[in-house]
Subunit: 335 residues, 2 copies
Amino acid sequence: MAVTLTDVANALGLSASTVSRALSMPEKVNAQTRERIQQTVHQMGYVPNQVARSLTSGRMDTLAIIVPDIANPFFPPIIKAVQARAARRGMTVLLSDVDEHAVDEIDRARNLAKRVDGLIMVSPRTASAHLAGLRDIPNIVFVNREVEGASFVLIDDGDGMVQAVEHLHALGHRNIAYLNGPKRSWSNALRQSAIESACARLGMTLSEFGPFEAQIQAGARAADLVYASAVTAVIAYDDLIALGVMARLTERGLRIGRDMSVIGVDDSPMSGMAYPTLTSVHVPGAEAGVAAVDIILEQLSTPGKHEPQIVELETHLIVRSSTSVPHPRDGSVAV
Amino acid sequence: MAVTLTDVANALGLSASTVSRALSMPEKVNAQTRERIQQTVHQMGYVPNQVARSLTSGRMDTLAIIVPDIANPFFPPIIKAVQARAARRGMTVLLSDVDEHAVDEIDRARNLAKRVDGLIMVSPRTASAHLAGLRDIPNIVFVNREVEGASFVLIDDGDGMVQAVEHLHALGHRNIAYLNGPKRSWSNALRQSAIESACARLGMTLSEFGPFEAQIQAGARAADLVYASAVTAVIAYDDLIALGVMARLTERGLRIGRDMSVIGVDDSPMSGMAYPTLTSVHVPGAEAGVAAVDIILEQLSTPGKHEPQIVELETHLIVRSSTSVPHPRDGSVAV
DNA sequence: CTACGGAAGGCAAGCGCTTGTCGCAATGTG
DNA sequence: CACATTGCGACAAGCGCTTGCCTTCCGTAG
C-alpha cells in the first residue's frame, strides 16, 4: 500500500541503505545521488514509516507530558509551549491528563515512558517519594518539583508571594488571609511558608483557610469563610480559587478591590479579564515547559549518561484592580 | 536490556509464537501452558514492546484528537472524556492543539494519521472542503462537523439557540443582539441562522456584531458595541465571549441580569461560577467525544470497509441569573 | 486397524527501517 | 607506478513481534 524505502531504492536502482542514509545523514551521501533520491522520494510520495524507524533506532520522536488537569487554565499554556517547542524539532507530543488522580500518575508515567523519548511531569500533588521512584526513567524532567537526582525546572513561588504580601502591607493591610491549595500540593507548601514568614517579618496577622481544590467552586466556599473573618485582604492559592472568591463575595455584596482585596496566583488569562481585574502572581508556566523540552532535547542529542539539569525560574506580582487600600467593613461581620 | 518475548520463550523451552499467542489469543493455547507462560511473564517482568508489535500488526493502540485550542474551556471536557473512554480499551490518546491555525490542521491530521488507529477531529473553523480531503483517512471521525462520506458526531446547536431566543422573548425582550464567533466557524453559521430564524418567527429585532475570536478579550471588545446599541439582551457565540462581555459591561456600570441579559454557549464550568451566573446553552461535548471514540472502536473491531456513522446530539438552555426581564437603560446611550 | 479431524505448538517469513562492515573505484602520496 | 586513503554505496543482519502454514499427536469414527 504505502511506498516503502525499498520501493524508492528499487526505482532508482540503489540499495535501501543508501536511500535511508540520504534521508537521515545527508552528508554521508554524494550530492548528486542525494538530489536524485530526494526527487524520487518526493515524486513517489514516500513517507518514512515511523514505527519501523523506531523499532531499529530506538527513537520515538515523541515527548510526553503529564499534567494533573488540563481544565485548569494554568496548564494549557505550558502544554502549548511544550508542543510548539517540540514541534520545532520534529517531535510529537503525547499529552496525558491524570484528572488529579495522583495515584494513576506513576503508572501512567511508566507506561508512557516506553513510548516516548522523554517525559515531562507536571505533578504538583504527588508525593515526592513516589516521584523519586521515576528517577530511573531516561530523560524525565519534573516541572515545579524538586526531585533529587533527577532533572527539574523549578518555579520559585517564594518571590512572588513575598511581593504579594509586601504589596498588601504597603497598601495598609495588616490582617490578611491565605487560602491554602490542595492538601498535598508541593506548590502550596512553598507558597504557604513564604507568606507565613513574610507576614511574620512585617508584623501582619495571617489567617489561613483550606485546603481547597484548585477549582472555582472551592473558591466560592472559601469566600464565605473569608467573609466571616476580619481580614481585609486575601491571597488565594491560585487564580481559580481567587476568582471563585471574587464571584461569591460580589454576590454577597462586597466590592472587590474596595471592601476586600484579592490576590491570585498563576496570572492566567482570566485574571486580566475578570471584573475587577485580578492582581496575581505571574508564574512562568510556558517558560518552564520550554525549559523542560530543552533539557530533554539536549540530553537526547548527547549520548551517554546525563547529569541532572536544574533550571530555576522566578515569579513576580502583577498588580491589577482587585487590590487597593483597606476599607474595613463597618463594625464586624454582617449577614 | 528489556526482557523480550524470546527471552520468555527460551526460559520456558517454548517458541516465541506460542508465548505471543498465549498473550494475544489466549484461547488458542492450552490452559496449562498458558498458565505457565503467564507466571513466567510476570516473574521475568516481561512487557511487550509496543513498537515491535505495531510494526507487524499494524495496530498502534493509539487514538489522536485534534482540537483548535485547549485553553478554550469547551475542549478539556471533550478531551478528558475521550481519554477516559479510550483508556478503558487500553488505548493511549495523542492530543494535538493546533492553536486555532486551521491551516496546520490538515497537515497535522495527515501526520498523526500514520501514528494512530483512529483520529478525532474537532475543527470548527476549517473549511469543509479541506476537511473532506481527509475523508480517506481510515477511522477518522469529525466532531461537530458534517463531512459527507465520513463519520461524524453532530451537536445540533439549533435547539439550544432557539430555546435561548424563546427564553429571552418570554422574558419580554424584543431587541437583542447576537455576537458572532470566528469567521469560518461552522458552529457559528449554525447558531447564527438558528437565531435569525427564531427571531424572525417571534418578531424580534436582531442586531449582529462580530465576528469575534473565541476569547474573553474579544468579548470585552464586543461589550462596547453592545453598550452603544439599544439591545436589552445579547447572545454570545460562546461562554468566553459572554464572560468578556459581562466583565466589561459590569466595569462600565451595567448590572448584568438587570440592565442587560447575557446568554453564552457551551455551559462551561465557568458559567456556573461567574457573577452573576451565566445562562448558557449546554453543549454535550463530553458525550460527543465518547461517541466519537465508540465509533472508532467499533470500526476497529470489525474488519473491512465501514459505513460512515452519524451520531446526533442535542443542546438545551440552562437558565441562570444573567438573564432576566428587560430593564431598559434611561433614554438611550450613556457614557 | 486405518483414516481423518482437531488441538497444540513450532517454523519461518517477514513488517520497514537502521547501521556496522566491507568492497570498490577514484584520488592522493612517495 | 605501487601503495595507502578516502568517499560512496551495497550487503546483510537484525530490532521484537505477529501470523500463516505445517507438523505432531491424540481421539474418534468408520
